[in-house]
């Protein structure tokens, strides 16, 4: 295991962070705006989100770089700013962490489907390589390839992340199939673990797509086929639609209530995805300590 991961996990399960997008929206980010651009335009507000998670007890925080690959940034006509946006994202999180938390830099999907010819593999390599290098160059402790629906795209992102020499977390979305235990492309947790490890991931896991209840089974199935550390970040339950916008009704206590079961199922790094806030992380930390 990578020494950084070994040190981090030496005292048992680690609390990571919660959602960023909703926190930025609470600080004025418009619904259609590109969150990643705020690293350049509103770094202090991005820093507030990072600091809120550190204060809530996150020992690992992410970065505001989820959509900061050239392909996705091009949608906001900011493709050429990819390097700068990623570097600033890491700097902001590092400053907020101030040595109290590790900075795992986020790499999200491009929003293009390789199999349908929306994008070429070469374009994916170039975009992820550029992002991973910028994140590593700015001092990230690890890279997190997250919210991936397609193992083919994840494989490229992991490959690019690995080239930096940093530990790599790879996390898929399971939101399809009758039991919500398949990716959009139909892969099972077992298939995902195998593909992610083959691609070079040090840590494997799942995030987004559904609430914690569904994550427990996925986690157990991943644990049955790997000894690697497992990363789990469920949503705050299932959203209900209010005026066309998702609203999460799960409380921090309800969310935290399922965290011990997740650890029991084999998770080593736990946090939250959509709908979770710093209060959720505080409650999750409490639930872990009193387990």
């Amino acid at each position: 295991m990578h020494p950084l991961l070994e040190e981090l996990l030496s005292q048992g399960p680690v609390i990571t962070d919660g959602a960023w997008g909703t926190e930025l929206q609470a600080r004025g980010l418009g619904a259609g705006e590109t969150p990643d651009l705020w690293n350049l335009t509103h770094p202090e507000r991005v820093g507030e989100v990072a600091a809120a998670y550190v204060a809530a007890g996150s020992r690992v925080i992410l970065t505001n770089t989820f959509g900061a690959n050239r392909i996705r940034l091009a949608e906001a006509a900011a493709g050429d700013q990819a390097g700068e946006i990623n570097a600033r994202g890491v700097e902001i999180s590092r400053q907020a962490a101030a040595g109290r938390a590790r900075v795992f830099a986020s790499i999200g999907p491009t929003g293009k489907l390789l199999m349908n010819g929306d994008v070429t593999e070469a374009e994916l390599w170039a975009a992820f390589r550029e992002q991973a290098r910028a994140l590593a160059g700015a001092g990230a402790d690890a890279l997190v390839v997250e919210t991936m629906s397609d193992l083919a795209e994840a494989t490229v992102a992991i490959g690019a992340a690995r080239e930096t020499g940093l530990p790599v977390v790879a996390s898929m979305v399971f939101d399809s199939g009758k039991e919500k235990d398949r990716t959009m492309m139909g892969n099972t947790p077992e298939q995902a673990v195998q593909a992610l490890i083959t691609a070079g991931a040090d840590v494997v896991g799942a995030n987004c797509g559904q609430g914690a209840a569904g994550f427990i089974g996925i986690c157990r199935r991943m644990r049955a086929v790997t000894d690697r550390p497992i990363w789990m970040k469920p949503n705050a339950g299932l959203p209900i639609m209010v005026a066309g916008q998702p609203r999460y009704t799960t409380t921090p206590e309800e969310f935290a209530g399922s965290i011990p079961a997740l650890v029991q199922a084999g998770a080593n790094l736990v946090g939250g995805c959509c709908g979770t806030r710093p209060e959720f992380i505080v409650a999750a930390g409490r639930a872990l300590r009193h387990r």
Binding site: G111, N116, G117, R182, T183, M185, G186
Partner: protein, 212 residues
């Protein structure tokens, strides 16, 4: 005489090579091309849709079946055109103005082609004017719009209003889809239909042109 059950199976399993081979043999044996489509290929795509709805098939299977169907249709379409048969319908599809997301739109476009439609893919960030032009110049029967963002979905209403202004709203059916879209929203803005997934979109398009 080729075994036409093999054509059905090839489309269901996404075996493009076999689908084309059997189609060629069938056409050489003088089988009516329309019969191949309606009695073997369309039922096969219906089965693919059923399997997707039943969570037996996922996005990759949908795409490869649509490709097999499309490959076979490419052999058949010239024959149908030569004898004056028209495609099931012509769809102008695009992601609305201000929105650049195209996974959903591309998936629907691929499945519509697999369903026998002629698809005019207008791309992303498509202005109302471009949709109007597709209706006027290319005689589209259906305008299909996609939006992923709550902030861009109002462009669907703008486009429908523009179609009305241009006097062509009555000539087309307007179908919409995308993550934030609901049937309620479709009703509110006066769209003719909404589907929550790509398989449903094909069924909706067929209904819109009166073939299902």
């Amino acid at each position: 005489m080729p075994d036409l059950k093999q054509l059905y199976d090839a489309v269901v399993s996404g075996d493009a090579k076999t689908a084309q081979l059997i189609t060629k043999e069938a056409l050489a044996a003088g089988i009516d091309p329309l019969k191949l489509v309606n009695e073997h290929m369309v039922p096969a795509m219906d089965e693919v849709g059923r399997r997707f709805e039943a969570n037996e098939y996922f996005v990759p299977e949908l795409l490869i079946s649509a490709r097999a169907m499309k490959g076979a249709l490419e052999l058949i379409r010239p024959l149908l055109i030569a004898r004056g048969d028209k495609p099931v319908g012509r769809v102008a599809i695009g992601t609305v103005k201000g929105d650049l997301h195209d996974i959903g739109k591309n998936l629907v476009a691929s499945l519509l082609e697999g369903g026998g439609f002629e698809v005019l893919d207008l791309g992303v960030n498509v202005s109302p004017e471009k949709f109007i032009e597709a209706v006027n110049a290319k005689q589209a029967d259906i305008v299909a719009m996609s939006a992923l963002l709550t902030t861009t979905m109002p462009a669907m209403k703008t486009t429908i209003d523009a179609l009305t202004q241009a006097g062509v709203r009555g000539k087309v059916k307007v179908l919409i889809g995308g993550a934030p879209i609901t049937q309620k929203y479709a009703d509110e803005i006066g769209a003719d239909g909404y589907s929550e997934n790509a398989v449903g979109a094909v069924a909706l398009a067929k209904k819109a042109v009166g073939v299902a």
